[in-house]
Amino acid sequence: MTVTSTINKAVRRVPGWVLYIVGAAYAGWLFFLGLTGGLGVEPIEALEHAYGDVALKLIIAGLAVTPLRQWVGINLISWRRALGVTAFFFVLAHFLVWAVLDVQRLSAIWADILERPYVTIGMAGFLTLIPLAVTSNNWSVRKLGPIRWRKLHKLVYPAAVLGALHYVWLVKGLQFEPLIYLAITILLLATRFWPQRRRATA
């Protein structure tokens, strides 16, 4: 048995909904840590960044599903919806911590969205994901038809780039971590435009 088929077999044994439970538990755990001093003496920013960080990682994981299948032969397709919906859940949590706990005032929230480019693009990324989250169910796939549904869900490409740029733009000085996230995002998107290749090395 090859490594990829072992992985594929293991993946099939874990249903996607497990990810919802793990995601929700992890989000709750982070919140609990923030409440009880586990995130340091300034938990608001720490929680905001932790949620944003998980969201970006899950979006990237979702983008990796297709290239992994095409180029490596690992099939995570049964987790993809859960990856995407959980990513959206963390983006939403990130947004709520920012708006409610961090900025606090509606006028200031609005001003930040309009005047601060890194907030603007973060917000644009969030809005882009909403129709995707709403249509992440079998009923919507049927209703829209697979072609239109797939077209709509390509919106995750700009959303991922916006999310990565949002992070790059946020930091002070020259920092590599956000640039690495952006590079991985662009790389994963670029694989969509490479000439198709059979997954087996022949």
Binding site: F31, G34, L35, T36, G40, V41, E42, P43, I44, E45, A46, L47, L101, D102, V103, Q104, R105, A108, A111, D112, E115, R116, P117, Y118, W169, L170, V171, K172, G173, L174, Q175, F176
Partner: protein
């Protein structure tokens, strides 16, 4: 408490200091990493004794001054100051130290001097963060001479009566309470009196976001965020934002330094 927490009184002279833990675990000191807890985790590697400060430029008595020598001629006192970071968070810190003016007067400032330049130690062996060019190392800061000579401007060597921890800028750092925290340069190894405005690290990195003066000013936003409010560290997950005060609440003492200056242009 978990929620809300103590809200330090805002009035001058009635400041309630943050805890030792808050002051020493939430730091920006990029030589030890860009995360807030990185300095507390990594700065123990910095050798702070022996320590010497090169004082040069337009001074009567240039030379290398050991920490012992510097401390032998000054009186250490406690100053409880607000500390406002450019990232819109704040603390109240009970510093121990001396007025910078005492040190400058001792070395003799010459007539042509108009600015004071400062430099942080640069030790790749002891500072993991400088392997990455987050900033153009060494860290540099500067003040106009009248700012440096102002009685509020101090050199801190302690917090809460204890030696200042490495992550807070041991063994000696600048404290300019009416400016954003990054002006208050840490672990100083060089002080130079100059005629021209010296280059300063954050200004070199991004002049549109970090001006030479960087006085706390709620009316001049940072390019990427508002500066009209701040979060006091220690309020927990539901801490309310507080309005930021002009010159961080030291307007009465320092506004005269900037009379006639356009603070929007000279931010």
């Amino acid at each position: 408490g978990l929620i809300g927490g103590a809200e330090p009184a805002r009035a001058q002279g009635a400041l309630e200091p943050n805890s030792w833990e808050e002051i020493t675990t939430y730091n920006n000191y990029y030589e030890f990493g860009t995360g807030k807890s990185d300095p507390a985790d990594n700065a123990h590697t910095l050798t702070t004794s022996p320590w010497a400060v090169e004082i040069d430029g337009l001074v009567d008595n240039p030379g290398t001054y050991s920490m012992e020598d510097i401390l032998s001629e000054v009186e250490i006192e406690e100053r409880i100051y607000r500390f406002r970071c450019v990232e819109a968070w704040s603390m109240v810190v009970p510093w121990n130290g001396f007025e910078l003016a005492d040190l400058l007067n001792r070395v003799g400032v010459q007539d042509g001097a108009r600015y004071v330049a400062f430099e942080t130690a640069l030790r790749p062996d002891e500072m993991p963060g400088v392997r990455v060019p987050v900033l153009d190392w060494p860290y540099r800061e500067g003040l106009r001479l009248d700012e440096a000579m102002h009685p509020l401007t101090m050199m801190a060597t302690g917090i809460y009566g204890r030696d200042i921890p490495n992550q807070n800028g041991a063994p000696m750092r600048l404290v300019v309470p009416w400016k954003y925290g990054f002006k208050s340069i840490k672990s100083i190894v060089r002080i130079t009196l100059t005629e021209d405005e010296p280059p300063t690290s954050w200004n070199m990195a991004n002049a549109s976001e970090y001006g030479f003066y960087s006085n706390v000013n709620p009316n001049v936003p940072h390019r990427r965020w508002s500066q009209d409010s701040e979060r006091e560290i220690g309020g927990g997950l539901f801490a309310r934002r507080q309005p930021t005060l002009m010159f961080n609440g030291y307007e009465e003492e320092v506004a005269s330094l900037y009379e006639g200056m356009d603070l929007n242009a000279n931010f």
